[in-house]
């Protein structure tokens, strides 16, 4: 089933057709599903990535340097490879096949969580380690260490951590490869902004693809602006 209104390449576009796409409820359903999936992934990735980043920042153990390199490298994970790996895990014959998650929004959340946990962990590690370098002597002098020190550092770097989380959200909402593979791009079930853009462009339904593209870019812009504003306002307010 195709979405109205529809334009054929080469016939030229009418402003009306371009704008009326934003009145299409299907477009907003796709946007909503995208945000639900990406926000859920960000919540999970934050719950895993923040403590992981804090632990790597503060703890000293053999192989730590290698772990830091690995975390940083994983920030650049190719989404299609993550998609493939999660697909294999979740497929009927895979180790997690029993969950029956493949081709559901749950699978997309899974894949995006894998994709952005390293981003949040690596950025958090950097921010917390910088703070630790500044605070270490003072905290040790006050007799603060372990979990209490980690919590203090997380609280004191909270604005940098918001930026890290927003970076994860931006990456999750903009990627296409992972959700395409594990979600299957099923109309009305697992079709999100990026996969719809890819599909509709190849089908020639450019107004819907462009409309979603505009929404997606707006979201990414707003996220980045918010990250910058929060950080700057906090810098002025709290030093």
């Amino acid at each position: 089933m195709s979405l109205r209104p529809r334009c054929k390449v080469g016939r030229g576009y009418h402003t009306y057709a371009m704008l009326s796409i934003f009145a299409d409820v299907r477009l907003w359903e796709i946007v909503a599903l995208s945000l639900e999936v990406s926000l859920a992934a960000v919540l999970l990735a934050t719950a895993i990535g923040l403590p992981l980043g804090a632990a790597v920042a503060v703890a000293r153990f053999p192989g730590r340097a290698a772990l830091v390199v690995l975390l940083n490298a994983l920030m650049g994970l190719p989404p299609v490879v993550v998609g493939l790996a999660v697909y294999l895990l979740l497929s009927r014959a895979g180790p997690l096949g029993g969950l029956g998650l493949l081709f559901t929004p749950g699978a997309m959340v899974f894949a995006q969580t894998v994709l952005i946990t390293p981003i949040i962990a690596a950025l958090a590690r950097q921010a917390i380690e910088d703070a630790w370098r500044e605070y270490e002597e003072q905290l040790r002098s006050l007799g603060v260490h372990g979990t209490r020190a980690a919590l203090t550092l997380i609280w004191d770097t909270r604005f940098s951590l918001v930026t890290a989380v927003l970076a994860g959200l931006g990456r999750a909402s903009a990627e296409v490869g992972a959700v395409m593979i594990v979600g299957g791009n099923i109309d009305g079930v697992t079709r999100v902004m990026t996969t719809t853009i890819a599909l509709e462009t190849s089908k020639g339904d450019l107004p819907l693809a462009l409309g979603l593209g505009v929404v997606l870019i707006a979201i990414v812009l707003v996220l980045n602006a918010a990250a910058m504003l929060i950080k700057e306002a906090a810098q002025r307010r709290y030093g």
């Binding site: 500044e134 605070y135 002597e137 003072q138 040790r140 002098s141 006050l142 007799g143 603060v144 209490r148 203090t152 609280w155 004191d156 909270r158 307010r237 709290y238 030093g239």
Partner: protein, 222 residues
């Protein structure tokens, strides 16, 4: 918890083996040029560094605090910074405001600590220490990056600690400050303790040529 004893304590090549005892009572100033090892010696005493060889021992476990050259402020209000120190020490946070009053920062209690001026931040660091009622207070060049009026305020607070019975152990390269605050001087030169003397004697009759040269060389800026 005093006396604090150092027995043949060394640290890498920075501190050569040194034995000394820090007794309760009059203020002790560790004097020496930049790079003499003052900061490292204080950190060994405070327990922030473990000696390469030798032993640091306290008479008993008790309260000690340290104020650093560059104050480290947590990203929260001035009052919350003091309360944090109290909670970390397992004490009720009720005395925090009194400590701010003591250093003249009560009117800035609600301000974020990291936007305070350098002098105010250092006074806040002192309030954090004050709230803990330490038996010994270590100060590592607390006025090195402050202007004269902020320096004067800091010195007033240090004198108040002294008057309240806290043992002051402070590192400085500022001779004027040493004269104003010290009862006794430990002179450190290239990682070695060369002299330990009451302040008047140290300045009028330094026992070593190095100390004499240091006093002569530093005096115009002291």
């Amino acid at each position: 918890m005093l006396p604090l004893r150092l027995q043949e304590v060394s640290f890498l090549h920075i501190i050569k083996p040194v034995s000394l005892a820090i007794e309760a009572g009059p203020s002790t100033i560790i004097l020496g040029a930049n790079g003499a090892g003052k900061s490292v010696l204080m950190r060994l005493m405070h327990g922030l560094l473990a000696p390469t060889s030798g032993a640091v021992s306290w008479n008993s476990k008790g309260g000690q605090a340290m104020v650093f050259q560059r104050p480290v402020m947590l990203r929260r209000s001035a009052l919350a910074n003091v309360e944090y120190a109290l909670r970390a020490a397992g004490q009720a946070a009720g005395g925090a405001m009194d400590a701010l009053r003591e250093v003249g920062l009560a009117h800035l209690a609600g301000k974020p600590a990291r936007v305070l001026s350098g002098g105010e931040q250092q006074r806040l660091a002192l309030a954090r220490a004050w709230a803990l009622h330490p038996e010994v207070l270590f100060l590592d060049e607390p006025t090195a990056s402050l202007d004269p009026s902020a320096t004067r305020e800091i010195e007033h607070v240090i004198q108040a600690f002294d008057a309240a019975g806290t043992k002051i152990v402070m590192a400085t390269h500022n001779l004027g400050q040493a004269r104003r605050l010290a009862d006794e001087v430990i002179y450190l030169h290239q990682g070695r303790v060369l002299e330990r003397a009451p302040v008047e004697r140290f300045f009028s009759k330094p026992a070593t040529a190095e100390a004499a040269a240091f006093i002569k060389g530093e005096l115009p800026w002291g």
